[in-house]
Symmetry: C2
Subunit: 128 residues, 2 copies
DNA sequence: CTCATTGTACGAGAGCCGTCGTATTTCGGG
DNA sequence: CCCGAAATACGACGGCTCTCGTACAATGAG
């Protein structure tokens, strides 16, 4: 709980973001958040790295407003954590929190998503 | 009718029900189906037994029409299998199919749901 | 300070979703 | 054959969601 980063502290600046506590995270909300294709894509990209990524680094097929909306749904459901860093807002998966509440859920969903992506990629490009 | 082939046997009878084939099941659809509290409750009850259960054996806080709707969502997303048995319609989880597509997904979600149920049951009855 | 970058707020619209009540269908039993 | 039980079909309604565009706020660089 030691505030390491000096530039942006979640609870210090005026641009603080509301995150649900562990006890407030619901499995229905998490599943609903992961059920959207755009959001699942975001989560998969976040899982590819251990770093926190800015929203602008995501190449999504929706507008900027819609991107904000999806990130908020992910944050308010407890799937991701967001922090301001300058004008950017970096996001990262709440892997530890989710694993503490629902062990293996995130990994299993990610594995299922990867599996489906491979399955669809193998079936679509060669229809003949 | 259904555009693509299904896993249902062709000579099942006049009241045959359309089920998605393995290749048609999508992780987004499964997650969306499981994200509803009523449907998750149905799935949890189905997981408690190996038998197939009639819709009337479920004690749900919704009307009969809504119950039919939820069972259809579960069936069309590939989560459950339904068959007519007289006037009743029995349902069972497509455990093997789901495990073949998304290994461990169903079990992990069910475990997460059980965990949350215990957590909420332990916190609510003693508010003061 | 000025400006470009980044993301938010707000309002709006289209569509889906969960819910219901009522009428209808299908089947087994008397 | 007629009736009751089980479930569906259909229409409807309210609410939420996904989407967008435009206007606005916050921050770092020059």
């Amino acid at each position: 709980m030691t505030p390491a980063s000096a530039t942006t502290d979640p609870a210090a600046g005026p641009r603080a973001l509301a995150h649900p506590a562990l006890a407030e995270i619901r499995i229905e909300g998490v599943l609903h958040a992961l059920a959207d294709p755009v959001r699942l894509r975001i989560v998969r990209q976040l899982a590819d790295t251990t770093d926190h990524l800015a929203c602008s680094t995501f190449d999504l097929p929706v507008s900027k407003s819609t991107t904000t909306h999806h990130f908020r749904v992910l944050r308010e459901s407890g799937v991701i954590h967001q922090t301001y860093r300058g004008t950017a807002k970096v996001s990262g998966l709440r892997t530890e929190d989710l694993d503490a509440l629902f062990p293996g859920l995130l990994a299993t969903v990610l594995a299922a998503s990867d599996r489906q992506a491979e399955r669809l990629a193998a079936g679509l490009p060669t229809p003949g």
